[in-house]
Symmetry: C2
Subunit: 132 residues, 2 copies
């Protein structure tokens, strides 16, 4: 299916403090802080060349990321994103294999179509499938 590891998402309670820490540790500048209204998060990505690290923080208490932080107050690894050249074929293949797709694809802040797989079908890992 020709997948690549697109990025790893880390949920954090304090986006500015996390940006400072990860900028210092990763040694690359962060991208712009963007707002994803669907997921109700602010997010930023660091491009390491081969893949990216994303920090995300809830915009409001009804964000899925707020629920994650209620369980993990200091933050934590939140999701793993795989890039695919054919999102629809990939999601069909998931469904055929009994891996549930959480919702129909939506556009992310980078203009890419994405969908999430059910963590219960992926050994607890929240996997984002990212189209082109």
């Amino acid at each position: 299916m020709d997948l690549a590891l697109s990025h790893v998402g880390i949920a954090v309670p304090d986006l500015e403090a996390a940006i400072a820490r990860f900028t210092e540790r990763l040694g690359v500048p962060p991208g712009p802080v963007l707002v994803n209204d669907i997921q109700r998060v602010r997010l930023v990505q660091f491009d390491l060349g081969n893949a990216r690290i994303e920090l995300l923080s809830p915009l409001s208490d009804d964000s899925p990321v707020a629920a994650f932080l209620a369980r993990n107050p200091r933050g934590g690894l939140h999701h793993l994103a795989l890039a695919t050249g054919d999102l629809d074929a990939e999601l069909d293949s998931c469904r055929d294999a009994g891996v549930r797709v959480l919702a129909p694809p939506s556009l992310n802040v980078f203009g890419k179509r994405i969908a999430f797989l059910h963590p219960a079908d992926m050994f607890g890992a929240l996997v984002e499938m990212e189209g082109s």
Copy 2:
């Protein structure tokens, strides 16, 4: 510091079932199942070309991964590994910045020197620093 995203580690309760699922989903064959006696885990990696996904499962109840699975019985995202060309300089830089290194570097099953950063200093993310 010229870091790259080496791999993402996913802890799973049933390594063989997880290998089957991830082989099917990732579309690439798994590497060999290896034993890391220090971490008391069996592990396998899938090479996606730009980075890898690692599945790990405890060898015994005294494994740190067994403790993780006690909190996350179905499995979950466990760690993020960053590759560096100069592990010692990187760890010195971490300590200078107040980021704790969990233990002195040890050799992993691939013959690389690695060390882990304290999750409390990295917004809940367990970060493995991987030397060459």
